[in-house]
């Protein structure tokens, strides 16, 4: 079974729209499907803006992993097993759709629990699992085999800013996978000046490399590099995975740091990678109307947005799935497109 994660840079960037598009193509291709979510997918309207949201509609036979309390708003299904995974909306159950129908998804919210759930879906015969994201959350996505990243005007209405951010974020997923250097300094997380000081001292004593696992502040990392650059020249600077980088700091800060590291002769990489299969762009954003105290749907220039992001993201395909869906989208998602 292959698992594709659908993450976004913010709410309303088009994650679920992308997932639904892939769902339709996968169903047509006859793939045995499974879906789950790291958040909650079931509301008909955005709880903050009040604007309509896309809903999942699953084919007969599709598997879903969702919390017990969402079952009453799903279509007819058969519960196959109840897991021990607890969420706010109850235990996660694995069910099979008895007929085509709507589905509300509220799956496990940690990577460990998602991996457990994916193993069960795999054992039950699913060939493709869609792992829907939530808001701008990304940490559990490392459980997936590939990632679709959705961005758009809901993240930032300034196209240049949005495109620059997307380019930097895509760059994190393009870091090479490198082996753990023996004897390297391993820093579990780097979020405090004390941890930075300890790391700096150890590096200056001549560690053969530096591995940062966990959450890492790009600002602290940059300050250490400034001090320890001569000691790290020709060595590797490794991070756990691109997702941990993405959640730890602004990708643009990371892009600057990685560029600086390369200039200093330091080789950045990751211990584990997650292939970025596709970046989608969405010109929609909710515009707040002060006079009426409500939100309305608004749109950027879609063509300009697509072109700008394509100009910045060079390591993965970029598409507007609503205006110009790629003909070979499913192949791209499954990693069969090179």
């Amino acid at each position: 079974m292959q698992t594709i994660g659908f993450a976004g840079t913010a709410k309303n960037t088009g994650k679920t729209t992308a997932a639904l598009k892939v769902l339709g193509l996968a169903r047509e291709a006859g793939l045995r499907l499974a879906v789950t979510s790291i958040g909650y997918d079931g509301e008909q309207r955005d709880h903050v803006t009040g604007l309509p949201k896309p809903r999942y509609a699953l084919p007969e036979g599709a598997l879903l992993a969702t919390a017990e309390q969402t079952l009453p708003i799903c279509g007819p299904l058969e519960v196959l097993e109840t897991t021990a995974i607890q969420t706010i909306l109850g235990r996660v159950v694995i069910a099979r759709m008895k007929e085509p129908g709507p589905a509300a998804l509220a799956g496990p919210n940690t990577r460990t629990d998602i991996e457990t759930t994916l193993a069960r879906l795999d054992a039950l015969g699913a060939e493709l699992c869609l792992l829907d994201g939530a808001l701008n959350r990304m940490a559990p996505m490392m459980a997936a085999d590939g990632l679709v990243l959705s961005t758009g005007a809901a993240f930032d209405e300034a196209i240049d800013v949005l495109a620059g951010h997307a380019g930097a974020l895509a760059g994190l997923f393009a870091l090479p996978r490198l082996p753990l250097p023996p004897g390297a300094l391993i820093t579990p997380s780097l979020l405090t000046p004390a941890a930075a000081e300890n790391a700096t001292l150890t590096l200056l004593h001549g560690a053969p490399g530096w591995v940062l696992r966990g959450a890492v502040s790009p600002r602290l990392c940059a300050s250490i590099l400034e001090q320890a650059a001569p000691a790290l020249k020709g060595r590797a600077l490794l991070f756990e995975d691109p997702v941990k980088l993405a959640v730890s700091g602004d990708p643009r800060d990371w892009a600057a740091l990685l560029k600086k590291a390369r200039e200093l002769g330091i080789t950045p990489g990751v211990l584990t990678n997650l292939p970025l299969r596709l970046v989608t762009v969405n010109p929609f954003y909710p515009r707040y109307l002060q006079r009426d105290y409500r939100y309305e749907a608004a749109y950027l220039d879609a063509e300009r947005l697509l072109a700008s992001v394509r100009g910045q993201v060079t390591t993965a395909p970029v598409a507007d799935l609503v205006a110009h869906p790629p003909a070979d989208l499913l192949k791209i998602i499954l990693g069969e497109y090179h």
């Binding site: 913010a10 706010i88 919210n109 940690t110 701008n136 405090t192």
Partner: protein, 597 residues
């Protein structure tokens, strides 16, 4: 000591966090509160130092704020804090669905529930916490505990002694078909037999006999269907909130509500609702017509008018779905089946009985002689069963002045004590016709009600339980007014130190049909809020209350003196000494001439 990290994530406001810190510290946790404006990185960094069992976040919501909360969750996961550190979020705008979307482990909607929060901190689900709370048996309190029943007014005690000696002497050689049926019922419960059944039926009215012989049910009555009964377990399944009493800072009073929708299944729904909203006990009210027929029906019966038919099966079904800690009172103080009602109530597991001869034989409609005989027998049963019995002073609702009603209640108190039972007088806190005509409550509802409650303390050390319900005749069809007046009366009674209070739904006084669940919650919610408002602060009457109390005391003594002088309790009722036609009270006629030697 377990550590909990509290993160406001708001640039300015952290009141919720400060409150949480205090409550968690009181609960034995080490609560570390971060300052307002803490970033997600600062929260996670602190968590890596403190190794908390949970990070609790408080933040109001708006556009883009959700992304901040989602980022915190991501960062916590990236830093390897989960699953040993649970993540919880709360605030007025949060919903469970949003909590799930944000990736939190716990979500606290609305105002703070410490039970729910602590169960989350300890790793339980809310459902588990509620179940554990339900499973841990709550003690079933005794309304009469702590009272000595010592007489503080020797004059009144002497008069009561005289009156009740006369009653007991008069009833000693008398019986009725009701007593015979009660004895047969007790035998049938112990050793069922067709012969006993035949003897029982022979002592019933024609309409009741038709039920037993032909299966004919009275008009408006039907048997509960199998499908209705089969649906009950599913309808009542699922977690229930942990019990939270209505009291705030006080051990008393206990709070009761009355039910009697006509349908045992609807009663169960109302009872469970009331339990979930904090009542300590419930009172079963039967239909008026049941009091006017010789003999009781059997089976699971539903009734389309007010009052739920007293059958052993109905009572047992209702008890089955009550919380074991909920106190249960079954009304049987009036009518032609008073003794048997006590038998069935005890067999079904009732905690309290209800017997009042003066009211039952006037406003209740039963012949005074008949009910005196049946009532005394019923008091002997109450003593035998060890069940306290309450004595509602509902004659005031007809217009009887309170001193006469209280005289009747005191007679029942002394009678019960002499027979070894435990009485609970129930003076009404009501805007009765007498109060209206005499203008005694024109200025306020405080002075007279305080006088009515305090006069009891001067006379006897007994539990006092105003009902039924409090605030009777102060309610209007306006929902808020109705709930508030109930709550105010309950707060007054609480301040006066009563043992228990009965409160109504906000539509009970004027409903032309079954009372509604929302209306029931109205009153309970209003009562909780007002008790919270007062805490242990006292409501003080004006000096006028002392004068009213003194008048009451004098009136009680005068009424009892007249009855003692009359030397015949039954005749005293007929002659209006406990409430005359002028007061709006008439002796009952049901069962007249049915007392036999």
């Amino acid at each position: 000591m377990k550590t909990v990290l509290l993160a406001p994530l708001d640039p300015v406001h952290d009141n919720a966090i400060k409150l949480l810190k205090r409550k968690l510290t009181d609960a034995g946790y080490r609560a570390v509160a971060l300052p307002p404006g803490s970033t997600e990185e600062e929260v996670v960094a602190r968590a890596l130092e403190e190794h908390p069992i949970a990070i609790l976040v408080s933040r109001t919501l708006g556009y883009k704020v959700a992304e901040t909360l989602g980022h915190l969750v991501d960062l916590a996961e990236a830093a390897g804090l989960r699953p040993q550190t649970r993540l919880g979020v709360g605030g007025m705008a949060i919903t469970k669905e949003l909590g799930a979307e944000l990736g939190f482990d716990g979500c606290f909607v609305g105002s703070l529930d410490m039970t729910e929060l602590i169960s989350f901190l300890e790793g339980h689900t809310v459902a588990e916490a509620a179940q554990a709370s339900q499973a841990a048996p709550r003690p079933r309190p005794d309304v009469t505990a702590g009272f000595s029943y010592a007489w503080r007014d020797a004059t009144i005690a002497g008069l009561l002694d005289q009156i009740t000696d006369q009653i007991l002497a008069w009833t000693v050689d008398k019986t009725s078909d009701a007593i015979a049926r009660a004895e047969l019922r007790a035998e049938m419960l112990a050793h069922p037999s067709a012969a006993l059944r035949e003897r029982y039926i022979a002592l019933c009215d024609g309409e009741i006999q038709a039920f037993y012989r032909q299966g004919t049910l009275p008009a408006g009555v039907r048997r509960l269907e199998e499908a209705e009964l089969a649906a009950l377990p599913r309808a009542t399944a699922g977690p229930r909130p942990a019990f939270e009493s209505l009291r705030h800072g006080r051990e008393k009073p206990l709070f009761f509500v009355q039910y009697g929708t006509g349908c045992p299944i609807m009663d169960i729904t109302h009872i469970r609702l009331a339990e979930d909203w904090g009542v300590d006990g419930v009172l079963h009210f039967d239909p008026s017509w049941g009091a006017q027929r010789e003999g009781l029906l059997e089976g699971l019966l539903t009734h389309e008018h007010d009052g739920t038919i007293v059958t052993l099966d109905n009572l047992k079904l209702i008890r089955q779905y009550m919380n074991p800690a909920t106190l249960w009172n079954v009304r049987g103080h009036r009518g032609l089946n008073t003794p048997e009602t006590q038998v069935l109530a005890q067999a079904a597991g009732a905690d309290l009985l209800k017997i009042n001869i003066p009211y039952g034989s006037t406003g209740g409609g039963t012949d005074p002689a008949r009910l005196t005989v049946d009532g005394v027998y019923s008091l002997r049963l109450a003593a035998k069963y060890g069940l306290p019995f309450d004595i509602p002073g509902n004659d005031e609702l007809s217009g009887v002045p309170p001193h006469k009603t209280f005289a009747g209640l005191l007679i029942m108190v002394m009678l019960g004590l002499k027979l070894g039972a435990r009485p609970i007088p129930k003076p009404l806190l009501c805007y009765s016709p007498y109060m209206t005509v005499e203008g005694l409550m024109d200025a306020d509802f405080v002075d007279m009600n305080f006088a009515k409650l305090r006069v009891w303390r001067e006379i006897v050390d007994a539990p006092v339980w105003p009902g039924e319900p409090v605030g009777f005749m102060t309610h209007s069809p306006e929902r808020v007014q109705s709930a508030v007046t109930t709550a105010a009366h309950a707060a007054l009674a609480s301040s006066a130190g009563v043992a228990a209070v009965t409160i109504a739904s906000s539509d009970e006084a004027y409903s032309k049909g079954p009372i509604s669940a929302p209306a029931r919650v109205d009153s309970l919610r209003a009562t909780r809020e007002l008790l919270r408002f007062f805490g242990t602060a006292e409501i003080q009457p004006t000096p006028r209350a002392d004068a009213l109390q003194a008048e009451l005391h004098t009136g009680i003594t005068a009424t009892l003196t007249a009855i003692a002088r009359r030397g015949d309790f039954v005749a005293a009722i007929y002659e209006g000494l406990l409430g005359s036609q002028e007061d709006g009270l008439y002796p009952g006629r049901t069962g007249k001439g049915t007392v036999r030697i």
